[in-house]
């Protein structure tokens, strides 16, 4: 097998979508839950990202971070620092971060106008 790694085999063109300036909103319920999570320390940020995978191809990734190595847009929404990776900005523009309070399947939820479909568990979308 000639893997071409020692020479100059051309890389395959990756379909990298355009970076979009993201607008997003946080519901009052989600704000309340984030207040509990952040406390008074507003130096931390909510990272709202997308990973590949899941039944529908993309999965949401919510983390509370101090900083990240990813190239991100930093937004301040209702007093919360929100980081959105540029690589997934096209998938996250216009989303609402909500919180659903129920015993099964509760927690933070993303309402995403860009999603054509989502899987049964609601964690992945296409």
């Amino acid at each position: 097998m000639d893997c071409g790694t020692c020479e100059t085999a051309g890389p395959i063109q990756v379909m990298a979508p355009e970076v979009i300036n993201v607008n997003l909103s946080i519901s009052s319920k989600a704000q309340s839950m984030l207040n509990d999570a952040f406390g008074d320390d507003r130096s931390m940020a909510l990272l709202v990202g997308v990973l590949s995978g899941g039944c529908s191809g993309y999965m949401y990734d919510l983390q509370i971070v101090e900083d990240t190595d990813q190239s991100c847009q930093e937004l301040v929404i209702d007093g919360f620092r929100v980081l959105v990776p540029n690589a997934s900005s096209h998938l996250l523009n216009g989303i609402e971060i909500d919180y659903v309070d129920r015993l099964m399947g509760g927690g933070f939820k993303i309402n995403n106008p860009n999603a054509e479909s989502s899987c049964g568990c609601g964690e992945s979308f296409a």
């Binding site: 893997c3 085999a9 051309g10 379909m15 990776p85």
Partner: protein, 233 residues
Amino acid sequence: MPVVAYSDACLMVWNGLDALKFIDGLSTNKIIDMKSGEARQTVFTTSKAKIIDIVTVFHMNSFIAVQGHQSKMDQLMRHVTPRILDQDVQITDVTLRNDFYVRYGLEQQEFGSIESLEGITYGHVSSFYSIMIASKGTPCDVTSNLTEFDQWRIEQIIPWHGSEITEKYHPLACGLKSLVHPAKGCYIGQEVLTRMSSRGKQGKLLVKVETSTADQRFITTLGEVNSLAITRP
């Protein structure tokens, strides 16, 4: 053992720390636990579980080689590259540097390994056949042709790219159940395949039929005496 040219094959090198995890998250078989020196087949499927391409994954230690099919490469790349996002995955097309063959008629007790012999890399992916990848110009004796290969496939009920393995079918219908891992977790198409398996409703299945009596509409590989067909049981 007979060797036949594998004319529609292509080869991509996938580099990056996330390459294996990325393939695992988009295809039907469990790839994430592969070790260096192993070869395994998996299937990329659409959200409706229709086949995009069957590929053989070679874990070459410092990189992952993925043998797929030239006629499906554009579709596969359109499927996977938008999903790379921030992950450490780079894909290079090295098809033109290599020739591809299939050695068949085997009865391998153990498979799943990679072997290099006289400049040819063998991916022992099944108990019945191995995928062979040779650097361009490496001599390889082709001792069989497509007609003989198809005849052998019919008798062994082995599906093949372009005949049974096409975008018309899902992996369970065309005899690729062994490549659909039952417990690996989520991937695109998983909900549909899991639902079919759990409800015992797989629809059409790959079967060997008598050519003279079979309904010609369902034949996928035509043989003189027997043929392969995908039909409802």
